[in-house]
Subunit: 184 residues, 4 copies
Amino acid sequence: MASYRIAVIVGSLRRDSFNRKFATALARLGPADFSFVQLEIGDLPLYDQDDDDNQAAPVKRLKSEIAASHGVIFVTPEYNRSIPGVLKNAIDHASRPYGDSSWKDKPAGVIGVSPGAIGTALAQQHLRNILACLGMPTLGLPEAFIQANDSLFDAEGNIGERSRKFVQGWMDTYAAWVRLHTGA
Amino acid sequence: MASYRIAVIVGSLRRDSFNRKFATALARLGPADFSFVQLEIGDLPLYDQDDDDNQAAPVKRLKSEIAASHGVIFVTPEYNRSIPGVLKNAIDHASRPYGDSSWKDKPAGVIGVSPGAIGTALAQQHLRNILACLGMPTLGLPEAFIQANDSLFDAEGNIGERSRKFVQGWMDTYAAWVRLHTGA
Amino acid sequence: MASYRIAVIVGSLRRDSFNRKFATALARLGPADFSFVQLEIGDLPLYDQDDDDNQAAPVKRLKSEIAASHGVIFVTPEYNRSIPGVLKNAIDHASRPYGDSSWKDKPAGVIGVSPGAIGTALAQQHLRNILACLGMPTLGLPEAFIQANDSLFDAEGNIGERSRKFVQGWMDTYAAWVRLHTGA
Amino acid sequence: MASYRIAVIVGSLRRDSFNRKFATALARLGPADFSFVQLEIGDLPLYDQDDDDNQAAPVKRLKSEIAASHGVIFVTPEYNRSIPGVLKNAIDHASRPYGDSSWKDKPAGVIGVSPGAIGTALAQQHLRNILACLGMPTLGLPEAFIQANDSLFDAEGNIGERSRKFVQGWMDTYAAWVRLHTGA
């Protein structure tokens, strides 16, 4: 039975998103006592501080799902050298209302897939700044700037041979990070 | 008659947003041949790449308004040490579809109001990275991290006595920047 | 007897540096089983990769002092909206030669003093990016952008009344972070 | 005869630095009325604010060389996901004493070579933040994250066939940027 529940947030809403596929494949590499749930962020309204006292149902759902998790993995593309607005909007929502952020103390992992050579490094640099101020202990190494290519996934949608060892290593390190930061 | 049309994008949707009030007051300090139009970003959908070939009406409107402008001023709060997701979502929309960004070559100004001492400096640091990759020549100095306080606006909603000289100087510098970059 | 030895690196070489005074005062707030040593970085040469196989004596000293520590606190001013070159030079030296970085896994704290209102927030944002890639688990909250003023220190060079509670809280949180990350 | 003098600052002190070779090859692609001078930064002391009133000879030389230039190109590797301390040290020196920065209003270009796939993108993201606060109008596009490989240079040390068109395009765009910002 899973003891650790990890929320996975994918930064892209595209149906065939590389990052969504990657998030699914990544979850299969988790330890036996870890479960992974991809959270929906595509039905959130645009954040408006005037609604802080009256958060919409999808915002409440997002916040309760994060609260029920032991950690959060962000799997995100890079848009215009930063994180997608869609992802930042979700982060802004769940950080509110003031004094009731859902993110605090949740151990975080940052990873992303991109077709380009630079991967998602610049988006991750901004994301790390954001997670620091949210009080999320964030795994530093290994850095994971995954380049999408034909061999990234195998026919069953698992991480392909060439990248598997690296991604497995990332997951193992992240899992240990979660155990450390949740007092296991 | 106004020769220069400047699009003003406010990063907050809050009705009584300091940044919206500031954007309105800032526009009054513009040269006689400049006009300023605040663009609506609160009715945009969340960006989804699957819609690139079929952009929603508010996205098309945003793009055509930017295209019709000689420059863009971003007046934005800081959320979680970066720009609001709402603002990044607007930037992502208007940068698309690939090869048809509306932002390219538009001279940009970055300014923001915050109740806290750090102002909006960290958000602006990220925003400048984004604007660089969009090809927007962005005014460097003077930096404008405006702190909201009782004297920021006067009774008529103008910039108050204490800040007026600084803000007027910023506007004058930005206007010269726009003239330079639009070949005037 | 001190069980935890913390290396303290001050980003300024100025004799009467606020940050150096602050580092000294900060150390006095540490738990009984913590000791603090300010490391010298002002006698390092400029980093040159050609010397990786033959590091100068001050570089070797710096590396061995870090290796002998359980954690590192960076107390740094902000120069030109980033960390001082002097500090980055020290970081570059001790990260080398390739495969033999002294920083890896050392739990880090980031704090800084500045006369200006923005404090050292922008320098810290860059520093956090650097520490992430060095594999240093870095304390996120509380953020510590300390503003220098007449009451920051008392007559004995301790943290003044007004800031003491905040700075003590920061130290307590950092000490717990070190214990967690060194397997105590 | 050259009308435009461009200062070129290489961020690495390594003798066989890719970035130094690249800076040399890049200069050969400049317009006929542009000259390029690589500035020495390896003999600068570590910056110490106590010396602001009494700058060392190499600091004075650096400042006068920048002052005599119409623009500055930064050709820099990435060290630990930011710019080298060596480069930041040079930037800090020439920005001083307070009120007498040598950088202000000099149009800047940012480019860099790296053996890794991510190039120097993360260093450049930090560098752009720094140049903004120095008041240097900085070319945004094209971004130039050059990857070092066997074909980057030809036998004569020129930019190789495969990259020449891109690098020539970068230089042409930068030269136009300098002309625009120096009132030509």
